[in-house]
Amino acid sequence: MADGSIGWWVVPVAVLGGALRVSTPFLFVSLGECITERSGRINLGLEGTLVMGAMCAYGTSYLTGSPWLGVLAAGCAGALMGLLHASICGLPRVNDIAVGIALMLFGTGLAFYLGKPLIEPSAPILPAIDFGAWSDVPQVRAALRINVLFLAGVALAPFLIWALSTTRWGLVLRTAGESADAARAMGYSVNLIRLRATMIGGFLAGIGGSFLSLYYPGSWNEGLSSGQGITAVALVIFARWNPMLCFWASLLFGGAAALGPALQSVGVSQGYYLFNAAPYILTLLIMIVTCSPKRTLVGAPAELSITR
């Protein structure tokens, strides 16, 4: 009966709700990666950071009973992963992309190892705010139940634009990303700037992971993240290293990821797995359309190893 009341509108409403829900990890990881890449280094290991964050958040929430402590623990675990990445990349002649791949494997392995006892118990999860209370349609209300972390991410994007463009911290960070020599000439340690940027990036990616285990899907298991981290890294390229564009791109990817479950909810189960691959296919298509072999990308930090 509830389904019948809005008919096929269920699908767009569910996609919208999914976009608001599923986009949060994309948003946090891409904002974090955005900061790291603006400092001139790429951290491909955020997939591992995301899974570590999800595990730490769930474990902490289960042990302390406070999901917010879980979010904090996830951020700290992410920052530690960032510290590991940055301190290895700080050594001469070490390739940051390869270290990222290593941390992707290490972070996932460590999270599975430590998270083994967490698969059974259920931990308290994060609260959400009902923006859909005005509506009688249950699907609309479900779609507009918005998690606080999402709102924090929405606020973070313009804040980062401001911080990167006007603060001293942002200027120094961008200098390190555009020309390491210039930053050195100004008397800054490029390694230290990038270390901080990678740690902040890891912190945000960890928080993105906490959303996975503490809100949606809201449990810990080994199949929790399948490539959201790497999709978010690709998304930063698509968003041209601009935090606001990262936000819109996250919504787009969230919507694409919600397409499969939304269609399944109205009984279209044909091609469920293909629809689940929609974010990856979309990422690939966007990269094909927007990249060019002839020029470097607009807005790309000049020191970045993937654009050089």
Partner: protein, 372 residues
Amino acid sequence: MKADVPRSAIAASPVNSFEPLRSAFTERIGGAAEYVVIPVLALAAALAAFGIFVALFGKNPLDLYFYMYRGAFGTAFSWQNTLSRAAPLILTALCTALPAQLGLVIIGGEGALLMGALAATSTALLLPAAPPLVVQIAMMLAGMSAGGVWIALSGGLQHYRGVNETISSLLLVYIALALLNHLVEGLMRDPASLNKPSTREIGADNMLGTIPGIDVHWGLAFGLVAAVLSYILIYRTAFGFAARVAGGNIRAARVVGLGVGRLILIVCFLAGAAAGLAGMVEVAAVQGRTNANLAAGYGFTGILVAFLARHNPLAVIPVAILLGGINASGGLLQRRLGLPDASVLVLQGMIFISVLASETLYGRFRIFRRGP
């Protein structure tokens, strides 16, 4: 002036008659020894770190090393287990090692493996009446082509569209997995497979047998041949030389008129073909059908093997056996020490990090330096 006297005295002393010998050592072996000693040190450091890690959880690290050795190389059965796992690892490692000659970082071997498995299974199911040898050859060709196209796609996108090949190859892993799940749960599903959706079996006659004498499936031989052929291609042919020139300096390669795009497409196709062959081997020698079990992480471990072997196709062989051994010992560690199955992943991650960090050590030890 005074300082000169002892120096010339040393020059005349009999001790210095070893100097030619020493420089011959550093000239011939020292350079290569550096590429053995440093990875071995990195490996030892990772094993030590893993020992400390399990000690934190109250397990005895000495037990850990003992059971790892037992499970990997201790008995004839464990050797057999190790070598059967090394076979796909050699092939998936080539998927990263070959493009690395061109300076490309391809990490999508898992995707090529899955596509190879899918193509090989489909081929076998489409040829129900053909003799086994024909089916097996057709499976190999189909698996290699599917895997090859999958990785050539990443290489081609990199060259013609400037799309980062590391990210695109990893995205293609998830797309391949989705495609596999879609087909296995839909079009190709065997109605009899209830709990674990799978395709129909390729048939016992079509399965690859074992190599006589060592009881390891023929996939190992495929891996060894592929590694040796890759080595010859890269280091002994004009094509391989061109690839390495392009990998060292892409502008120089263009100046001397090398077709970089063609090089990238061919090398990436061969790389993907190796991983696709691994998929065919997993179907035709181990699983007998395609299902989600095939995504067992051989593609990802292969990346580690390639980096540890410094992308040398011959070095890939011993490293794959080593990592195959670590994989094989996972079961014993679970049973005897109660470690989670992810402990193998943690150890692999530690080895990977340690090996990459050790990159910084090259050229720092005087003993390895060439010449006086």
